[in-house]
Symmetry: C5
Subunit: 335 residues, 5 copies
Amino acid sequence: MNSGRIYKLQHFIPWTRKKIYYLIVISAIPTILYYFFELKWLAIPWVPVALVGTATAFIAGFRNTQTYNRLWEARQIWGAIVNNSRTWGILVKDMVRDTEVGAEKSLHRDLIYRHFAWLTALRFQLRESRGWENVKTKSYNREYLNYYKVPEWEGSLAEELQNYVTADELEYILKKKNKAAQILALQSARLRDLNQQGKINDLNYVEMQALLKELYDQQGKNERIKNFPYPRQFASINVMFVYLLSIVLPLGFLSEFAKISANCVWFTIPISVIVGWVFFTLEQVGESSENPFEGSANDVPITSMSRAIEIDLRDMLGEENLPEPLVANTNNILM
Amino acid sequence: MNSGRIYKLQHFIPWTRKKIYYLIVISAIPTILYYFFELKWLAIPWVPVALVGTATAFIAGFRNTQTYNRLWEARQIWGAIVNNSRTWGILVKDMVRDTEVGAEKSLHRDLIYRHFAWLTALRFQLRESRGWENVKTKSYNREYLNYYKVPEWEGSLAEELQNYVTADELEYILKKKNKAAQILALQSARLRDLNQQGKINDLNYVEMQALLKELYDQQGKNERIKNFPYPRQFASINVMFVYLLSIVLPLGFLSEFAKISANCVWFTIPISVIVGWVFFTLEQVGESSENPFEGSANDVPITSMSRAIEIDLRDMLGEENLPEPLVANTNNILM
Amino acid sequence: MNSGRIYKLQHFIPWTRKKIYYLIVISAIPTILYYFFELKWLAIPWVPVALVGTATAFIAGFRNTQTYNRLWEARQIWGAIVNNSRTWGILVKDMVRDTEVGAEKSLHRDLIYRHFAWLTALRFQLRESRGWENVKTKSYNREYLNYYKVPEWEGSLAEELQNYVTADELEYILKKKNKAAQILALQSARLRDLNQQGKINDLNYVEMQALLKELYDQQGKNERIKNFPYPRQFASINVMFVYLLSIVLPLGFLSEFAKISANCVWFTIPISVIVGWVFFTLEQVGESSENPFEGSANDVPITSMSRAIEIDLRDMLGEENLPEPLVANTNNILM
Amino acid sequence: MNSGRIYKLQHFIPWTRKKIYYLIVISAIPTILYYFFELKWLAIPWVPVALVGTATAFIAGFRNTQTYNRLWEARQIWGAIVNNSRTWGILVKDMVRDTEVGAEKSLHRDLIYRHFAWLTALRFQLRESRGWENVKTKSYNREYLNYYKVPEWEGSLAEELQNYVTADELEYILKKKNKAAQILALQSARLRDLNQQGKINDLNYVEMQALLKELYDQQGKNERIKNFPYPRQFASINVMFVYLLSIVLPLGFLSEFAKISANCVWFTIPISVIVGWVFFTLEQVGESSENPFEGSANDVPITSMSRAIEIDLRDMLGEENLPEPLVANTNNILM
Amino acid sequence: MNSGRIYKLQHFIPWTRKKIYYLIVISAIPTILYYFFELKWLAIPWVPVALVGTATAFIAGFRNTQTYNRLWEARQIWGAIVNNSRTWGILVKDMVRDTEVGAEKSLHRDLIYRHFAWLTALRFQLRESRGWENVKTKSYNREYLNYYKVPEWEGSLAEELQNYVTADELEYILKKKNKAAQILALQSARLRDLNQQGKINDLNYVEMQALLKELYDQQGKNERIKNFPYPRQFASINVMFVYLLSIVLPLGFLSEFAKISANCVWFTIPISVIVGWVFFTLEQVGESSENPFEGSANDVPITSMSRAIEIDLRDMLGEENLPEPLVANTNNILM
């Protein structure tokens, strides 16, 4: 997530420069052919271009709406994870009861730290790569990766997990297919034990189990956004229509500028670039917001949110020397 | 679901080629009549065409929005099925309790495998055909069926179910009208037995029963999307307006090109085809995303999701040799 | 609900023919005045017409969106009724317990058949007529009523109810104002008795009562859509703007065609009819989808859904000779 | 709420006549200056007007969408109040139990009649006036107030409440700030007493208390819509843009009509009025639907809905001589 | 929140005056160059400007929709806080029971006053500043800050909290990172004590704990809106496109006015300013509604809502001399 005021034009222009080069070429070709080779028929009337432009604007608008919804829903899910984590904190602290204070504290710590393990496994899973994601495959996004680091690509899951669970549990977890899902199953098994030992009474047990259900819901919602891309058939027509528009735009402008004077047709190039750039930028911004967990600068900041949860719950446990919150780097990127 | 980056133009063009042929014919007719037979009145002013174009763009946009919503909701429902299946796993494992470990394990396996039976019956029901679906009736979709297989059309429900339930239960289920609904009723009857035997206490029994309620909700939501198409009156005006637009488009272009020169009217044909193709493609993409369970390449991948649930739950049961996850085929189609 | 692929043009044209006659007249008048009486000032510039057209397209789009939402919500509510009915089935079967098998079966049947009574009363109430509904007041809709039958207008509530409740209860229900609401109150009273007799334990009693609450919610949501029309102020501007557009359209076309040649002004009539027909059709389709329980061909198919519920629950009770599901008639209309 | 088919044009025209007068003046001024004083520069090109028109149409569309959402949400909340009221009825009747039939009936009546008191206090609070409401401040709305009566402005809260609560309670309620909120607190106190007396068991007590929570939710949602207007910054730009459009419209039409002939510029006036009227009507309809509890003809009919609830619950109590439902008056207005 | 009827034009114009100055300059430059230096090529055809205008209008519309949604959701969350606060009131009063009346009253007061502490800490946290907020960084917003005061910027958290909690608790709270979250944890710890002392029975304890969960949900939703801005990539293209439009607008108008006469090109300046102002105003209104807790005049009025909750709950406790509600200041601003 960018936590600054705005992306600077000097970032946007390089980020979109390949599209600009393309637009220069695609508009120069018909202009040159028209001017030097007198292919006058290249200048088509404006009206078909306007109709394609309207349809493209609609499609781009539709995509941006859905893309925004995906991003916002992803943030809502992580908001819900924050809320449920805090609730997990108070349920553990006040419903898991032992007559011996030290033993009780240790039970609380165990259940809360295993929750951190779940958060860790979840964010590593979410930052894996998918075939339709763009951050590593598009050159302009790869370039931008120089401006920030993705913590889950730098660190190791096993190493981070060992802060939160015992060695035995760690080994067990690492053998499982969906690690996050199985960590929650471990929590559930632990609750059962505590219930059978009488350390959680039957009513409270049901409440705590219900919270695990909600955590499964949030995990599953994350996986839905991660694993189900913006439908490729819609993404495809988006790309096709923008390119089609970029081809017909200069043809339409040719006829408009030719009305003024023969030399004016050269304005076709800058004007096509400007108008085309608007549509390509819309498209590229949409594309790069589509997958809110792909490791892009526009991701939901799940690493720092997980850290914030850890701080809150350890503060609740009364621990000293809490970890520092993660803040945006010098490029205003917060992961 | 297409799990690649994009549909290639070389797939789109053949897939939409019948519309292109049609557009060539429908725009060639008035052009020929105009040019050779001097039916000058065929060239109508642009403004009515623009108005019809705007209305059609709106209608197409509206349809795409609703179509996308249907697809996304279908995926949400299956996401919820994933979540509830995992919750079913932990509830069964930790709320169904027996003093004898082996007996307990067998109870758990029974309840979890019957859940797989429900998933199987549900996806077979969802992949049946309906009168308004397009995948088998439209020639371009039938052609595309060569690129992938629909597992529910290849396999047999009875055969797959016998992996999950006893022969007696299988016979019972196969006699029922709505098999999936009756499998959940069997689960409910089983829970009652276990509750009466004291293997599920009263509070936990209520929780597990509540989960069955949620599974009925998800099944019913699936059936709603399956059995209630995008309303045919809206679909109908969509088709009619696009065809109407394709008829008036060349008439409008005729007058625009005639302004340039007499020979230029021949450009009416390629430009009508390009602009018309944009609208027909929008329409055809909308149509082929409308029914997310019809067996099309854009379906929600319910077969692979069911498999993923099976893997997770059997992993939770501690089974070895788990089945492999289903992956996209070479054409990037995941069912 | 139309369960076919599409409404045929040969249905749409007769259904909208009055609007077509009107459009012929309204565009012929200014054309005749212009041509024969030389009222040249009737030909106004195109730009005001375009602006009115845009505003009308927006308003029509807005209405169609809301209309679709009403229809879709109505279907969602009935989907929820299906789900809750099945849940009612399993709760009754597994939570109402009697040591004597025969007595238990009879209790189950009683509670489940009274649920059918509720469904019946509800659908009769929903198919009553309201002042703003269109199916009986608009001639084109009355004509269309020949193509299908509305079961609730053919049958009698009392007759159908007697299949599900005792004569005493029937008499009691028929005296009540809101029969469906009072049938649920009867269910509630019955649950209380069974709870006091110990046939439903306290925890299960609360669950079953909670389901009655949900059924009240669904009934009330149905009544909301039934009793609160698409706001008449919005419906009114819709109608006014479409008629206003139909008046200014030919005036704008006159000037456009007059630019070509004097005789060409006669094209004003067919073109006005075509463009006007697009807007009137949008409006008429919106109008006839507005009230999803009015007995129109586009209704939510509540009769067949009620029948499907009856089949499922009687199948669950283990009954033989289940009723047949209702299917679409030869005109593809399913009620 | 208007329960008729449509607002007649003969109501709309007087209701919007001030805007029409204004439009005549604002378009006559530049026309006169142009024609008689030859201020030719007043005729500006059409394109800036089109751009302002598009932006205004968007803004008007946005407002109507949000306004509609406010109205529809208000109706949903009241639908939920209806549903919860019926549920309150069955919970009271079947969960509040006394061994003595007469005493039990009296307990039921007490709790249900106090619910009517809450409904009454709530609707009086909702029909108070707010600074941003339009029904009393705009002359065209004041005129329209002759066509119907707002019951909460005619009656007295104290008088109506005494039908439902004892004199002591009435005095207590009238001293409170938020009367509706404190009536629910009274209900809660009553439930506590009954729980402590053993007339509501612990499980049922929790359910009934949960319903009070829902009633607080619905009351609060009502207050949200009542107390938080459509944001004034958005409302403000709406008004400003429509007036700006009304000023530039005639300037743009002047140049279009001047192209035809000098005398034709007089058509600027009627055409500006027609097009301007479309936008002002959109704006005025939006404005008068914005606040669904202000006492306008487009209000949610909360008085008649409260009456309907009273009828249903008294019918449930088995009372005779139920009150009559409220119906729309001769002008089709239902409050 | 502005609680008046409308923002006056005399407020809007100064508030947007910098944009007006900018527009004068940006349109004067090409006009001067065109007129005096005869750079005729500066006059570009209208069509590219129209296309950029359409895309910008779409983007501005999209932003306003999302901005409105953020504001409205913020208000919904605070509505839910109001509702849950009242429910907290009745749960405390009727579920926390002590045989001794005075002791019970004191327990109730303690739990309800600590709730006020939570509200106070929450609103102080929400009114802190973030890097992307505009109220303090944009000169036009800083100017507007003279018209009202933000109570959380004037007061001190510690001082206000001491009205609600003991000195010990105050010290504990002030040491914590997320004070509001830890106050709820204190409530939870208190409930546990009361449950263990038998002053809240087990069933009621679960209900009260569930309400704390909901309060965490609302706090977290607030933090989501506070900490996750309208995505900066979308905000950025908004700003860029509006500025781009403001640059090309006068170029397009130049050619339109030049068609009329050479001197008419001077109209480019006022018309560019008017049309550009519409788009800049849309943008600026969107920007200043984006962050509903930043201390702007358009904020959700969380200070007065917190006061209203305090009044209601103290009224419920039966306290005399309740505080006065906060009302809008003379500039109609309610915080």
